[in-house]
């Protein structure tokens, strides 16, 4: 944060007007820039401390290890932008993973199983959306019910873990596309995650659906009065999150090579934290998929740093909690300031 204010001051000295224009027009980008600053500080600090952090291996694995979280975060961004929340993503990811693994074990072809997993995710999202919209259930409670349901269903598939031996699924994880041995690499899961980010960003910025999502998050009442399809868009946002959870199920199954019904416990919190750290306001209407990606990388970097330190993994959650707090307070100040300006 200090880096940001210093940068702001120097710019203010040179061109007060342009800064004021920037902060007033691009106020929603400030949290994202803050997240980028934090990420860079973390990376540089880790490199200075460990000396061997900035290696292609470590940085490549950052994307590999967090591909599922990245996909979840994109879906969550859609929901949070409408002013909702989706607590079911971790459990849906576990359920689709379990179901997929058991179907594969029964000999179904991969080309059938993966669409089924995505469809199940979409169905769970649709159920949450319908509850939220048609029955005025709070998103928190509706997605909580979906979380319970998905977790229970995951256990109904099997109480123990199912190993996945399907070559196509394992290919997603084991293939390393790299220029030279030991240098940068990317796995198909990583490409998939980046594609999801790209598609998410394009949809949010260049389609009617995406712009409607921002409009609803800004003010649902106004969006309705403008004649925007509020109902369809809101429900669709949960469906997007569900599909992302289904896809994350595929990626996570590939990542671990097995499905376990307890997979992804607490993942919904990590996802929300990553999205918030990435600068999306929980009140909705303001935020970016790219920001969520930065948030996921911040999360991944903290996790890597802590394992580098050899400290207990409980520090991950503590630092994420602390970081979340900092970002929420910063957002709060920004919102208060822009509200004061408007007056």
């Amino acid at each position: 944060m200090t880096g940001l204010t210093v940068a702001g001051e120097t710019r203010a000295a040179s061109a007060v007007g342009s800064v004021r224009r920037f902060t007033s027009r691009r106020v929603t980008w400030i949290p994202v820039l803050a997240a980028v600053t934090i990420l860079l500080l973390l990376l540089v600090g880790a490199q200075l401390y460990f000396g061997n952090f900035f290696t292609p291996r470590v940085l490549s694995s950052l994307l590999l290890d967090n591909a599922y979280l990245l996909i979840l975060a994109v879906g969550m961004t859609f929901v949070i932008l409408t002013g909702g929340i989706d607590l079911s993503v971790g459990a849906v990811m576990a359920f689709t993973g379990m179901l997929g693994a058991s179907l594969l074990r029964d000999g179904l072809p991969t080309a059938v199983v993966i669409p089924v997993m995505l469809a199940i995710g979409a169905g769970m999202g649709l159920a949450v959306g319908v509850l939220v919209h048609y029955f005025d259930v709070q998103p928190f409670i509706a997605s909580l019910a979906a979380m319970f349901a998905a977790r229970g269903l995951a256990f109904m598939v099997s109480l123990s873990s199912i190993k996945v031996e399907d070559p196509a699924i394992l290919w997603l994880q084991s293939t390393r596309l790299q220029v030279a041995p030991g240098s940068w690499y990317i796995t198909p899961t990583g490409i998939l995650a980046l594609l999801v980010v790209l598609v998410g960003a394009l949809v949010l910025h260049f389609t009617r659906f995406g712009r409607t999502i921002y409009a609803i998050g800004g003010s649902e009442q106004s969006a309705r009065l403008m004649g925007l399809p509020v109902v369809r868009t809101k429900i669709l946002a949960y469906v997007v999150s569900g599909v992302c959870a289904g896809l994350a199920g595929v990626v996570f199954t590939a990542y671990t090579g097995a499905s376990y019904p307890l997979n992804g416990i607490g993942t919904e919190l990590d996802t929300i934290a990553a999205v918030v750290i990435g600068g999306t306001l929980l009140t909705g209407g303001s935020g970016f998929v790219v920001g969520s990606m930065i948030g996921v990388f911040v999360y991944g970097t903290i996790k890597t740093v802590i394992s580098f330190l050899g400290a207990e993994q409980s520090w991950t959650r503590i630092s994420i909690g602390a970081l979340l707090l900092v970002f929420v307070v910063v957002q709060r100040i920004i919102v208060a300031r822009s509200a004061a300006q408007r007056r």
């Binding site: 029955f135 319970f148 349901a149 229970g152 919190l269 409980s314 503590i318």
Partner: protein, 343 residues
Amino acid sequence: MRRLVRQRLFWPIAALLTLIVVNTIARPSFISVTVRDGQLYGPLLDILRNSAPLMLVALGMTIVIATRGIDLSVGAIMAVSGAVALTIIAGSPSPDDLGTVLVAILAGIAVALVLGLWNGFLVAVVGIQPIIATLVLMLAGRGVALLITGGFITTINSEPYRFLAQGYVFGLPLALYVSLVAIAIVAVVERRTALGVLTESVGINPEASRLAGVRSRGIVWGAYAASGLLAGLAGILYSSNISAADANAAGLYIELDAILAVVLGGTSLMGGKFSIAGTVVGVFTIQTLKSTITFLGVPPAVSPLFLAIIVVIVVLIQSPRLRGGISRLATSSRAPKTPEVVR
């Protein structure tokens, strides 16, 4: 009859009674109470005894929800208070000493109170959304508890501490007295003073009640402090029941059970009017449901699915749209165009 159905507590109590009747039919021993050494035993008493931690947490949650908030950190606070108390007892030379145990309990509760005050500070003073403000502690709290116990499950052998959850006084479990006293204190403070009305007014319209001279900041702050305190006590009871501080398992998902109990009891998540009696009934319903699920031989892992179904049914019953639709159907079949206020 109609008046009876309109009673706020009608549906919660009906649900609880139905559960008890179903259980009794399925196994007549359910309502039996046996006396051994002047102490009462039986499935119903087990429910009363085991529901104590949830009861304490749900009471605090009721007050927080009445202020239009939510407290997700109660489970983490339970873990912290149990960890603090047990670490003190485990570190003392005389774990059976009553003084040591008292100091440990007070320390655990004091830490919980501080955590509750912290939540209240974030919500009431800084103005962060309750879900996020308490999410910070929910993420970080368990990590803190793990650090306190050093990553292990601290076990102790302290007779006075164990007595707290398992002991009997005048033939009834001590834990039952604890929850009864808590219910009484909360009921008296909220209902025999103006505090309850003020809390409701803050929940219904924070801005209007502030303009009307209600010191909403203090009331909201106090609600989170009370929730933290009660969660701390619940953590002590939980750790005393198993004579161990398990930072990962203590109070896991209890925030969800507590929110569910509050909603089952007829308190709306939108804040405002709350019902302590409703919460008490809701807690017993959930505890009975859990014992029913165990009795039916459903693997505990699948029980979330049942909870999900119950949540959906309850929120659908509470949904104004569904109720409105039903009452519209009822009125249109009898007397068309009778304007009815649907709550």
